[in-house]
Structure formats: structure tokens, C-alpha cells
Symmetry: C2
Subunit: 320 residues, 2 copies
Amino acid sequence: MAVYTHVEPDDLAALVAQYDIGTVVSCKGIAEGVENSNFLLETTRGRFILTLYEKRVSEGDLPFFVELLDHLAKRGCPVPAMIRDREGRAIQQVSERAACIIQFLPGISLTHPTPGQCQAAGAAMGAMHRAVADFAGARENSMGHRHWRAIAQGAGDLDAVIPGLQAIVDEELDHLDAHWPRDLPAHVVHADLFPDNVLMLGERVTGLIDFYFAASDFRAYDVAVTHASWTFSTDGSDCDIGRASALMRGYAREVALTDEEFAALPLLARGAALRFLLTRAHDWIHTPPGALVTRKDPAPFLARLRRYQAADAAALFSAA
Amino acid sequence: MAVYTHVEPDDLAALVAQYDIGTVVSCKGIAEGVENSNFLLETTRGRFILTLYEKRVSEGDLPFFVELLDHLAKRGCPVPAMIRDREGRAIQQVSERAACIIQFLPGISLTHPTPGQCQAAGAAMGAMHRAVADFAGARENSMGHRHWRAIAQGAGDLDAVIPGLQAIVDEELDHLDAHWPRDLPAHVVHADLFPDNVLMLGERVTGLIDFYFAASDFRAYDVAVTHASWTFSTDGSDCDIGRASALMRGYAREVALTDEEFAALPLLARGAALRFLLTRAHDWIHTPPGALVTRKDPAPFLARLRRYQAADAAALFSAA
């Protein structure tokens, strides 16, 4: 959860006056988006999300995100459109931060998805992959495979988080470097499509949100991230085959993975588990006492890594 | 800021189904209310606040708050009404906590009120005092004068928060015990009407919120709390006479304080400053690292206490 930066009412009124969206009725900080400050902004003409970009989102990347969301919205994906001001600008400055006013989408973030909801999420991801295929933009995945060794080195004392973790990570990095696929279908992917980044009403996907890790990578890696985040028990020890097969079935309705991609999925999922294990360990070590964010336990992603390392891991990706 | 407790979508749907308020469209945790979990709930029929009551609000007190808000709403005060379900109940159970669905009010919480906004807040407090005068309910002020010595004793090592604080507090408690008024006009008061508990649009008060410290006390003590929280610089060292006189002027439009009340205001304000100094010191000592709440610095209320102790403090309460 977030809301780091306060917006003065006068600054807010001045910002909103640049747009054709009426005048401010209410503005409440909301507990969504770990990297940014988010506000639910109500005006006389509707509801919007006001996002102020904090540390991790580089201002230089913002035009990429704006263009990506525009592209997906035009193709009918349920992503929040960036609202333009009267001069066509989507990116503003508020309280010394870059800021965007974004379309409000209905729906609720899930915590314990059902198989039906996993299937819907898989289908929405597949439709998003089809829509993004002709997107001209590209962005280095700074949280991708090529960067994990550096992220591991910069995380701090991994053994202080989980005893023995450093050796596990070193061994896994060696394995992934030796076996990571060189060539699979790739385009811009979400790369962080956890349940809290999918809004749903019942079994209907009403929003795919928080594209701030979106970057160029294998589309099957996106499937692996979503598999790792939608189909496991809270402690990461158990993959629910019912939810996993539903997710893969939903995705297969929109995108037919190649044999090479299917074969690579267990390895890509090991990578996905490692990526979140490393960044959570980093944040665990570096989150100061009294910070506004809840530190997320890295251990459940070590448990997922163990599961994906098992000899029978390929069975977790069956749509049957 | 808060949001401690998560509400599962199924539990939310079941709760909302008990009311005539349509079905859930969206539900977002919001960063308001330090003691409770608050959600902005949108349904097909409107917007509401869903509050789940955490530790500090006793379930036994909830009927008092419901009746108080009903009473004030009926008399035209801009307070959020508690929504009743089809069987007339305002208090429910969700996620093992007492919960209420509450009317959504427009407006924005202020941080740096102008004199015009102070005047409006003073008038709104005065109108609320007039409206509450015939309210039959009563509630012991567990944060009131009679409890400060116990709060000080339970706070922990005050000198670890601010060196020398224990002696300052002991001396002030002795002074307040010796001089605290025995008999002034009293009724239920808000007792925590800080700027973040007043919603405004421009200079219009659209909401008085967060009545969970409301209790029976001198009405002039409520004026003192509001004075201490609306008229000082952020560090508490400087009382802005322009804002202070505007606050008193606004209040005077609705309520004519007696000479005894005016004479007591500096002492009551010393008490108000001590009350928030003590509870902030307590929370400073007891808030665990990584907690979701920001600890509030107690020092600015020590600075206020010093200002109210000064020989010329009576001048801070002039409406002229």
C-alpha cells in the first residue's frame, strides 16, 4: 500500500483545471500501488485515479507507459486510459512529482481467485498479448533474467532473510544462465500480473492495471509470472492444479503457445519465482522501520522455486 | 493512515446484499482513519464508506456513535449517516470485526487551512455543539482530563521520546489537577476535530467526520482541541493569530461562550496539548517497526503546550 506524497487542495484544483473533467468533489489516498501515490479523485464529471510517480518509476519511462496503455485501450483491452489535458498532455507535474490522471475502472482486486477467475485472467492476459503484438514501443526489462545476478548482489545479506538463501540463489542463477531460452516469441509483456493487478466483478475481468513493470520479454515468461502468482497457496508450498489448468486453458483460448514455449515454461517459472524472491528479499532488507509499506515475505517465492524445480513441474502447466 | 483488515470479495458481496444499496462495483482501501480500516465502496446505487473497527474502538461504544451521528444528521449537521440494512441494523460483522456502511461525503481534508477555512470550521463546530445539546447519549471521555495521569503512566519512557519530558508532564499534570474547571457547559463533543476530520470544498464545510473519540466533556474543551490543531505552524511553535481569531469568530456566530469559559480556554488548551502530546508519545513508543501507520511526532504538541503556558496565552483566543 502506498500514498507517500500529499497533494495540497490548491495544487489539485490547479491540476484538474487543466483538463475537461469538471471540478474536484473529493480526493482520497488509496491503498493501491506499492511504487506510487494513488488517489481516488472524484470530480463533477466522474471518477479518476490520480497517480504521483515515486522512486521506482523513471520519469523517462512514462511516455512508454502512456503509449502502451493507449495502444491496449484502442484495441479493447480493459486497461485504464491516461486522460489528456486540453493541450493533449498525459503527464503533468504535481508536488514535485510526475503525475497522471487515469481512467477509473470498476472491479475488485482478488486475493483468493477461483478456477473460474483464473481462467478469465488467463484469457485476459492472452487477449492483451494479442493486442500488444503490433505495439511499436520497447523497454528493457530491468527486472528480467539478464539483471537477476545484479539484483541478487545488490539485495544485501540474503542469509539474514532466510538462512542458506545465498547458496540457493547462486546455484539457481547458474542453472538459469546455462538453460535460459535464447529465442522465444517476445513482445512487451505486463511482467507483474499478480491478482492484485487484475480487477474483476465475479468472473469478469474489468481491469488490467499497474503496467509499471511492463517491458519487452518472452510472452511465455509473462505466463510464468501469472502462473506463479495465481495458482499457489499463500505459503507457496502447494500449486492448485485446478486453478493452474484453468489459467492455462483461458490463455490457450487466445494464444497458442509453441512446443518450445511449453517446454520452457518450468524454467521460465523458476526464473519468475527467483525474480520475486530476490526483489522481496531486497525490500525486506531495505524497508526501514515505520515505513508506510508492508514488507512482503520472500519465503513463499522460495517455496514456489522449489516446486518449479521438481522433476514433475511440467505437469503444472497443463491445460487439461 | 490505515487499512489493516482485508475483506474478501464474497464477504463484501454478502454484506452489501443485506442493504438496499445495489451491488458492488468497486471497493478500495483508503488512507483515512488511523484507528479503523476504511474502504471507499462503490455500488450500482452510489458511493459509501465501509468501516471495519479495529482495536481502539470498542464494539460496545458503536451504538453510541450510531445514535450520535443519526442525531446530528437529523439536525442538518454535515456528518456521515450510518446506512441501515433492510432490518434496520447499522452495525454488522465482517472479517471478524464490527463494520458499518456509512454515507459518502464530498470534500477534501485540509492540511494548511486558511483563515477563511478556520472560520468555517469554527462555525461548523459551533453549529454541531448547538445540535448536540439535546442529545440524550453520554460517554465517558476516556481520553479526557481525569485519565491523563494514567495515560502518562502507561505511555512508557517519556524521556526516551523527548529528554526531560517526564518532568514536564508531571509538573503539568499537577497544575491541571489543581486548576481544572469543575463546572462549565458540557455535552457530547467531538474531542478530535483536527483539520483531517473536516472535509471542505473551498471555504465550505462539507463533512465533519471520525467521531470515534466523541464523548461527554466541556464544550470549551472541544474549542481548545480545535484551536490547538487548526491554528499552529507545523512544528507547533507559532500560533497564527489570523487563523485563531477567525476560528473563534466562526464559533462565536453559533455559540456565545460564557466569561468563565473564555477565562478557562488557556488552561483547557494546555490540557488539549498535553492529551495529544501523551497519546502521540505513547504511540511513538509502542508503534512496531514496519507498522502500516506513520508515527506522529509528539514534539509539536509540547511546543503548543509551551505556548499555551505563556502569560499572554489568553490573547490567542480573541475573536477580534
